[in-house]
Point group: C2
Chain length 79, copies 2
């Protein structure tokens, strides 16, 4: 089973990497960009049924893959 | 309009960051993981209709956001 973990900076947290990319896009002539936020995208291939995988990965996402103080994550399932 | 740019390493390219995360997950007791690949997830808030935005962002994804030699990207639209 393939699971995607999408990790994004929380709304309240500054995202300097995103701001840099936004400024660079403007400088390169790409107008109309009002916000850029950069996160991580992790694809995990894993054995097990959906429920087990969800419980397991939520635990590891919380303590290892994402930093819950500044990041949100969501799991996207694909069979 | 919100557009997500999802950038992933090409299948043929080694992903040492993914391998490191895979090994770490195993060491932490998360069994059954057969592959991990790590990419980038960029959310861009942009003015314009879907077609214009798609043409514009494909250009900037090709020359700036992603490295087409080693990475694939796809645009996901959300109104």
């Amino acid at each position: 089973m393939k699971v995607k973990v999408i990790i994004t900076p929380k709304r309240a947290v500054l995202d300097p990497q995103g701001k840099t990319v936004q400024t660079a896009l403007e400088h390169m002539g790409c107008s109309g960009v009002s916000d850029v936020r950069i996160g991580k995208y992790i694809e995990i291939e894993m054995d097990g049924d959906r429920e087990t995988v969800e419980v397991k990965l939520s635990e590891y996402a919380d303590k290892f893959l994402a930093n819950p103080n500044i990041e949100d994550y969501r799991l996207v399932f694909e069979d």
